[in-house]
């Protein structure tokens, strides 16, 4: 049963990613990315990371994708705003040729590792409580730095989006 779920989820993840890569219209690209992200969230659940499954759906599929789709509608993108990409498929083929050796090296390295049982287990591994305990005990400095980073990003994006008005008032 798990194998069928895995094959379906990975098929949708890769298909969504390829759809994101080849569509000209950024709206279709965003929807392909959404399919891919939801499938990756399903793979997280298959790997016993239940908390990360929820975080992936809420943050990526909820917040970031809403931001992207809202921005695409807000900018009212028309055909003449899109860049012309005459050599797109040639460059995609070139990228595939560049990435194949890299992939082979990594897959060879991973396949030499001893095999382990990766099935879903009935334990508290990956639940909210043990992850929270670990986060606030061992990773507290990283947590605080992340909160400062988010504050800086919040202020910075407001300043960037408001800059035109401030310039007009000054001049």
């Amino acid at each position: 049963m798990n194998e069928i779920i895995f094959i379906g989820l990975s098929f949708f993840a890769i298909t969504g990613a390829i759809a994101m890569l080849v569509y000209k219209n950024p709206m279709y690209s965003a929807l392909g990315l959404l399919v891919s992200i939801m499938s990756v969230a399903g793979l997280f659940a298959l790997l016993n990371a239940t908390f990360l499954f929820m975080v992936q759906i809420i943050v990526y599929a909820g917040a970031i994708m809403t931001l992207i789709l809202f921005l695409l509608m807000f900018l009212n993108i028309k055909e003449e705003h899109l860049p012309k990409e005459p050599k797109k498929f040639f460059l995609i083929g070139l990228g595939v040729l560049i990435m194949i050796p890299f992939n082979i090296v990594i897959l060879k390295a991973v396949s030499n590792l001893p095999n382990a049982n990766m099935s879903v287990v009935e334990s508290s591994f990956g639940d909210i409580k043990p992850i929270g305990t670990l986060l606030y005990n061992d990773w507290i400095l990283a947590f605080e730095l992340i909160s400062i980073l988010l504050l800086v990003a919040l202020v910075g994006s407001i300043v960037l989006a408001k800059r035109k008005k401030i310039n007009k008032e000054n001049s």
């Binding site: 798990n2 194998e3 895995f6 990975s10 993840a13 990613a17 994101m20 890569l21 950024p26 690209s29 990315l33 891919s36 990756v40 793979l43 997280f44 790997l47 990371a49 908390f51 990360l52 975080v55 943050v59 990526y60 917040a63 970031i64 931001l67 992207i68 921005l71 900018l75 705003h81 860049p83 990409e85 797109k88 995609i92 070139l94 990228g95 595939v96 560049i98 990435m99 890299f102 897959l107 095999n115 382990a116 990766m118 099935s119 591994f125 990956g126 043990p130 992850i131 670990l134 986060l135 061992d138 990773w139 990283a142 992340i146 988010l150 800086v152 990003a153 910075g156 960037l160 035109k164």
Partner: protein
Amino acid sequence: MISLTSYAFVSMILFSIGVIGVIARRNIFVIYMSIELMLNGVNLFLITFARYHFNMDPQIITIMVISIAAAEAAIFLSVIILLFRSKRSLDTDIFTTLTQGEK
């Protein structure tokens, strides 16, 4: 039983498609989404190894990566708004604006 290599295969494919998107496309939205896809591939790799070693530290690192991606989304998208307002285009060639000075 699903092996470690098959999860690694899926995450490597996702990462590679992200890299190819950054190389091959000129639409700035698609480049941004390719970066998100690369982060997703790395996250999947981390979660796979968390399950493989039965250790939750990579899951914490994944939470950090997701929050950094959220911060990056806010900055990147506001920069896209600025560039689109001034140039009315989504072409990455508008980044040459830094070399041309004020117009």
